[in-house]
């Protein structure tokens, strides 16, 4: 009796929300996912993927999401608020529980291959399709952008984002080649001064694309803590500091121990900016991180980074970069 009732209800609901279209995609875990379009209510369990919705201009479809190191009231929060006034209602600090996610009645869930590979199974009983994404390197960013472009019906915008990226990579490569300059030995530092990005991380890819020589490329895994002697051995000529964490260039520049390192002696220590998300996280904003890195590694490259950044935010996010952030980027 109860089963019969359930079937009846399901049929009624199914008739009520008559599908306008069906899309079958292969997600980045290799699953074939059937999605009813248009997708109007998205829950994102993957902070990196959440940022793609903003870059593709479909942030109004987000109903609940984790973000990347976003704290309410911070400058990034204010920036996101100006392009998405509904932010406080959809922001979640930690990954939402299954019930919390279902309570938002999503018609699509985005999850991370790295953190939530089992999300697909979890949502099966509730008939909510899950797309697993893996935006952790250049290849992954490309796939995520294209896939989300298709799912949200904004293929053209996704294609524009990617061609912007390709054009930038080409421009930097030819400019660096044109300069005939050596690739500076470069280190990417994280939330502690002696915590460095390994060779398997996106940050190392960014250094290579920006025309640097990543000294920690041989390290495997995720962030690695190293001894200061290892730093002396590498002797980086440029040090980038992650946008998050409390490490500042002054911490390194004012520490007598670090004066043995070339980058510190020549004061080429730079903290990476963040606008919506940190620029070293594999979201579309990281294209600007790449551009910014290239101008720090090769100051004579002839790129007006501020103009480029302003144009990018205007075109893809409808966001006018405030003067405060311009100073950070120039710094």
């Amino acid at each position: 009796m109860r089963a019969l009732l359930a079937v009846a209800v399901a049929l009624l609901l199914g008739l009520g929300a008559f599908p306008q279209g069906k899309l079958v995609v292969t997600d980045q875990a290799g699953n074939h996912v059937e999605i009813e379009t248009p997708v109007k209510r998205v829950v994102s369990l993957y902070g990196v993927a959440t940022m793609y919705l903003y870059a593709l201009g479909v942030q109004d479809r987000l109903v609940l999401g984790t973000f990347v190191g976003l704290k309410p009231g911070s400058p990034s929060w204010e920036a996101l608020m100006s392009v998405d006034p509904g932010l406080p209602d959809k922001y979640t600090r930690t990954k939402p529980s299954l019930e919390e996610a279902l309570a938002r009645e999503p018609d699509l869930v985005l999850a991370s291959l790295w953190k939530d590979p089992e999300a697909t199974e979890e949502f099966v009983p509730f008939d909510v399709p899950v797309v697993i994404l893996h935006a952790e390197d250049v290849e992954g960013i490309r796939g995520t952008t294209e896939l989300l472009g298709r799912i949200f019906g904004v293929e053209e915008r996704a294609a524009r984002l990617l061609s912007y990226f390709d054009a930038m990579v080409r421009a930097i490569a030819s400019a660096v080649a044109g300069l005939g300059a050596a690739r500076p030995r470069t280190l990417f530092v994280g939330a502690r001064p002696l915590r460095v990005a390994s060779g398997e991380m996106y940050q190392t890819q960014l250094i290579e694309l920006a025309g640097g020589d990543p000294v920690a490329a041989q390290l495997r895994g995720y962030w690695q803590d190293v001894d200061i002697e290892q730093l002396f051995l590498w002797d980086p000529e440029v040090i980038f500091i992650a946008p998050y964490g409390k490490v500042t260039p002054e911490d390194l520049l004012n520490d007598p121990l670090w004066h043995g390192i070339s980058a510190v002696r020549s004061r080429r220590v730079h903290k990476m900016p963040r606008v919506f998300a940190p620029w070293d996280i594999p979201t579309p904003e990281s294209f600007l991180g790449l551009l910014w890195m290239a101008t720090k590694l090769h100051p004579d490259i002839g790129i007006d980074v501020v103009a480029e950044v302003k144009a990018f935010y205007r075109e893809f996010y409808g966001y006018e970069l405030p003067d405060g952030l311009v100073t950070v980027i120039e710094g």
Binding site: K71, T94, D227, G245
Partner: protein
């Protein structure tokens, strides 16, 4: 004669370990340069001088002091609780200190105050334990149970902090701290450790005869004119200071406080006047050697808390098996 040789060996062990660590590191510094930096002679490169005098030397001394403090506190705790399975964790010091450090990192308190927080909360935990114990009759059993309870409470708070901490910046800092490391130990840290270690060791060595009485039944001790409760409280406070100081500088380093006193007892017999100094010297030497491994085995640092377990436990198992095979025992 045999005791004399053991005594000499015990004193030489940490001295040799510290000296050895000056010569070994990832950055190649020649034998002559090390000696030249120490003496000091001319013709030593500035990098080598900084590495030897401001990196390797303070780090080795810091390791020695942390090892000595942990081993000494372990030895007295095992004595007064008449239990060979006891170490600094028994009274909740470590959990309190860990919570304090995590809280400081979560609240974004400056680096140099994190160890003060660890120290303060380590003391607070033991203060609570002693308070509860005093209320309920002050027996060893009540002390141990309230220690476990308070420790568990702080562990739960710590878990809560880890759960809400930002995975980009705060969580890695907490994890790094919890795994234990002497990375970045400078002279100011050595000074702090030295003050507490000297005060603690001095007090406990002065009390060494009376400590033997604490291993007796309380009534027997009273008959010999010792107020066991008051003495025990005093010793607990000193031991706590030692642990809190070590943990606040080096994070959570297990095992040393538990096992070193057994090794010391195996060598010197159960008399506290010999076990205490022997434990200190062995703890110092072992931690210096383990720290040497932690900073040289790989390009990245191996957390000390992991290494003490992986290298230390099997080494001591072997030692014990040989000791038992020869018919030895320990209290």
């Amino acid at each position: 004669m045999k005791q004399g040789a053991i005594r000499l060996g015990l004193v030489l062990f940490p001295a040799v370990a510290v000296t050895a660590s000056l010569f070994v590191g990832r950055y190649p510094v020649g034998l002559q340069e090390v000696i030249g930096a120490l003496l000091p002679l001319d013709g030593v490169s500035p990098t080598a001088r900084v590495l030897i005098l401001d990196v390797r030397l303070p780090r080795a001394l810091g390791a020695a002091l942390v090892g000595a403090s942990l081993a000494l506190s372990g030895a007295v705790f095992q004595g007064i609780f008449r239990n060979p399975l006891v170490d600094s964790r028994i009274l909740g010091v470590s959990s309190g200190a860990a919570f304090g450090a995590a809280l400081a990192l979560l609240l974004g308190i400056p680096w140099y105050l994190v160890d003060a927080f660890a120290f303060g909360f380590g003391l607070l935990a033991v203060f609570l334990v002693v308070l509860v114990a005093r209320r309920f009759g002050n027996s060893v059993l009540v002390l141990v149970i309230s220690g476990i309870l308070v420790g568990s409470l702080f562990s739960a708070f710590l878990g809560m902090i880890k759960y809400v901490a930002d995975p980009l910046d705060v969580l890695p800092a907490i994890t790094f701290w919890l795994l234990g490391s002497l990375s970045g130990t400078r002279w100011d840290a050595v000074e702090k450790l030295l003050v507490v270690c000297v005060m603690g060791a001095g007090t406990l060595l002065l009390l060494r005869w009376r400590l033997n009485l604490l291993t007796l039944d309380e009534r027997e001790a009273a008959a010999l004119g010792v107020n066991a409760t008051r003495l025990r409280t005093r010793v607990i406070l000193v031991g706590t200071l030692l642990v809190a100081s070590a943990v606040s500088q080096a994070g959570m380093i297990g095992w040393i406080g538990l096992i070193t006193p057994h090794a010391a007892r195996a060598l010197t017999g159960p008399d506290h006047s010999r076990v205490l100094p022997a434990s200190m010297l062995m703890g110092a030497g072992f931690l210096v050697l383990l720290d040497l491994l932690s900073r040289t085995l790989m390009r990245s640092e191996i957390p000390l808390g992991i290494l003490t377990g992986i290298v230390g436990v099997p080494a001591f198992l072997l030692l014990f098996m040989r000791h038992l095979a020869r018919g030895g025992g320990w209290r």
